[in-house]
Amino acid sequence: MNIWNWVALSGAAVLALIVVGAVRRRAGASASGRRFFRHPTAAPGLFVLTFFVMVALAAPLVAPFQPYEQIDVDHLQNHAPSTRYILGTDPLSRDVWSRLAHGARISLGIGALAMFVAVTIGAAVGATAGYFRRWVDTALMRLVDVGLAMPRIFALLVVVALWDRIAVPVLVLVIGLTGWFATSRLVRAEVLSLREREYVAAARALGARPSRVIVRHVLPNAAAPIIVSAALGIGNVMLLEAGLSFLGMGVPSPAPSWGNMIADGWSKMAVAPWSATFPGLAISLVVMALNAVGDALRDALDPRKEAV
């Protein structure tokens, strides 16, 4: 790590602090915002998330080496953490910190994108089922039951293994396609209750098309469970990606992801634990932050508490 990397890293940390501070000030204005920050883990969680996102965005700045660069395969493999390689090197003499920073892009990116796919599909399906009810509802919810009956990693493994080579975008799509079921149930429940509200009935009376009613009136108010499940879902996707990489079927080499860093490093766990430990810690921290933020969001956006 040279001086500029440290500058960039500190910059990221400071920026994250500023962002959290700003959000806190803005949130203080509303009741839900105050409820959010009443959770002691909400602010630290937000900080961790922002920090890692900053690191991911500024990866080339904070990382002294390229993620695929094998610095000196002869002599620098499995090097313990030092001033030059602050998190050590992996068995292929690649700088662990550089891979961690660039891996943040891929792991967080996969998490966010897959979740986006899942939430979009889940919201669409749930809203449709809740709005139209009757046989549409029954049919779609049976589909959801089937989807929930198969353990997600199992379904993922079957799909990924069926096709010989899987590009990262396809991986994202497939992870998203296996994860929308719970969201759809949540959205459906919200939509069912919202359906009877005055503004919705008014819109329907005015002859608005169902899609318009759903998108303009129902979904914005059903946003709360969507946002919460999205926050928690990203963590699940990251854990899934790590599991898939561990089994050899995640992001292909040489692109770094926190999951395949663990897979690459775990055979040397006994003598060089840093290459598998730090990515594991990173995943745990980010997922922990997502859980904390998700919990806080759930409380903050809970409409039942609006009246209090």
């Binding site: 395969v73 002869d74 493999q77 292929l92 050899g248 292909p252 040489p254 775990w266």
Partner: protein, 554 residues
């Protein structure tokens, strides 16, 4: 509320302790002992004629006997250095007729005597096209095997050559004809005998728990001497690192190869383990597919071009990746050979590591980076290929990543196809790959393995890349059969290798030096490099060093 866990743990500990108390007593004396071998992999079927898995060879070694076995010197020429096994003696009626006299004490573990009919039956099976044994081509120089009486077998050869005796005895493990005669020849790969074999060797088959372990027990009536160790158990692990971990934790007693330097260091420093270095019989390489993937009638779009292959070999530094993966425990081979082969000679001419020359050659062939993405291209196609690697080998996966990066700096894009071992084998056999990272465990001499992998005789067998140079084939023939003495053979082999190296059908990456580790309580441990458990019946545990596991009586 008090969590009950501490008390549960104590109860479990008491039970475990009680269990160990119960077992004191049991076997005493010289013929006790249990050897637990940690193994990464598993046999497919315990029937030697139909399996080329190293795991099968290890497990069937103590179950089935050969006519004669290699001696400690490992010399495969002539017959002086071979040890009698099923055959107590032999003589040459003519220079191409070999007569074996079977030991009358030899018997199958169901009581029947081993007869010459078994030997003739075995030869018939090994050469039967329906059985399709991977060893069939190694026996091509034998024209017939007949019986003279119940204990006399006659081998007839097509011609004289130095390793006749080796070919007659090494490749075949004698099978019980009375138990296998009725099995249809095309069903050998799935016959029940292969899951519960009956042999004539020092150890009997006891049990096979699929995916977990195989157990063999000593046959106290073995005619060449009762084995000391009472029981052999193989524990199967999903990969090498877990096997090493089990060894270091004391859950296993022995491992065939430690492979990496840190494993060797940890095992040899362990006070409970003893290390045994021995010549390695494995070599690893990247093999190019000279035919189009999945269609052997067409040439490969990239690798049919000899110059391109040469450029790729020139562009590869083989020393540094070897040092990364193996430390000092392997050497770069001067061609497709293992350290065990007597023809090992670092002076054999091969393509050097010369990245400048490689760059010039690639440029001359028209591969230049016209779009600035770091990868060379020509006519709109990038210089890119897929490397097939089995996920079950950490060594190969690491090499694959090292090579991927080193090729990238030379402007070649390599994508890794990491698949399960069984899928790897299927794709390799079917030719559905661009390049593959393979490891061969070789026989003690090149004459059986080399033609199978690098000549036309290997098409449809181990010559996955379909490399064929008629001059190389001729030289190999000369080296194997026509050479009148060792020097001539050596010269022929050397020429063959040098010619092959110039054709660059692959990049020859490493030839291992093995280090085995066995628990210190085992004495008289001798390891033969071509088959490390060949002499396991002389390993023993002195009675003052017996542990609970050794005393188990069943």
């Amino acid at each position: 509320m008090h969590t009950p866990r501490p008390t549960v743990f104590a109860a479990v500990a008491c039970l475990a302790l009680l269990g160990s108390c119960e077992r004191r007593g049991g076997c005493t004396g010289d013929h006790c002992g249990t050897l637990v071998i940690a193994y990464a992999g598993e046999p497919d079927i315990l029937l030697p004629p139909v399996s080329e898995f190293a795991a099968t060879r290890d497990v069937t070694e103590p179950i089935f006997l050969k006519l004669a076995d290699l001696g400690p010197s490992g010399n495969t020429v002539g017959d002086e250095d071979f040890q009698p096994q099923l055959a107590e003696r032999w003589e040459w009626d003519t220079p191409t007729t070999l007569v074996f006299h079977l030991d009358p004490r030899a018997h199958w573990q169901d009581g029947q005597a081993v007869t010459a009919a078994d030997v003739a039956f075995t030869y018939d099976v090994y050469t039967d096209t329906l059985v399709n044994s991977p060893f069939r081509s190694s026996l091509r120089q034998i024209s017939a095997v007949t019986t003279r009486d119940s204990l006399t077998v006659v081998f007839r050869f097509r011609q004289r050559y130095p390793e006749m005796f080796y070919d007659a005895v090494y490749h075949m493990r004698i099978m019980p004809s009375h138990l296998l005669r009725e099995v249809p020849r095309d069903q050998w790969r799935s016959t029940a005998f292969g899951r519960a074999p009956v042999g004539d060797g020092p150890y009997r088959f006891v049990a096979w728990k699929a995916g977990q372990s195989i157990e063999l027990a000593a046959d106290s009536t073995f005619f060449l001497g009762r084995p000391y160790i009472r029981r052999l158990i193989w524990r199967f692990t999903p990969d090498q690192q877990v096997a090493v971990t089990q060894l270091l934790a004391g859950d296993a007693d022995a491992i065939e190869v430690l492979i990496t330097p840190d494993n060797v260091q940890r095992a040899c420093a362990d006070p409970k383990l003893a290390c045994y270095p021995y010549k390695g019989s494995a070599y690893g390489y990247v093999g190019f597919n000279l035919a189009a993937p999945g269609d052997t009638t067409k040439p490969h779009p990239l690798f049919a071009d000899r110059d391109l292959r040469r450029a790729l070999v020139l562009a590869t530094d083989r020393e540094r990746p070897l040092h990364n993966v193996f430390g000092e425990l392997a050497r770069v081979p001067p061609g497709p050979m293992s350290q065990l082969w007597w023809i090992w000679d670092p002076e054999i001419r091969e393509l050097p590591y010369d990245s400048a020359q490689a760059a010039r050659l690639l440029k001359r062939l028209g591969w230049i980076d016209s779009d600035g993405d770091g990868i060379r291209d020509k006519d709109g196609h990038a210089l890119s290929f897929r490397l097939l690697v089995p996920t079950t080998s950490a060594i190969r996966r690491q090499y694959a990543r090292l090579l991927q990066e080193s090729f990238r700096t030379a402007g070649v894009d390599v994508q890794l196809d990491e698949v399960d071992f069984s899928v790897f084998n299927e794709r390799a056999r079917a030719g559905r790959f661009d390049a593959l990272l393979n490891v061969w465990n070789t026989d003690p001499t090149p004459s059986s393995g080399f033609p199978q992998t690098w000549t036309k005789a290997g098409f449809g067998r181990s010559n996955y890349g379909r490399y064929f140079n008629p001059q190389v084939d001729q030289l190999v023939d000369r080296a194997v059969s026509a050479a009148a003495n060792r020097d001539q053979a050596r010269r022929a082999w050397r020429s063959a290798f040098e010619m092959l190296n110039q054709d660059a059908p692959g990049i020859f990456l490493f030839a291992t030096e093995n280090v085995a580790a066995v628990s210190k309580r085992f004495t008289d441990v001798t390891i033969r490099p071509d088959s490390w458990l060949a002499l396991v019946r002389s390993w023993r545990v002195p009675s003052d060093r017996l542990t609970d596991r050794d005393r188990v009586e069943r």
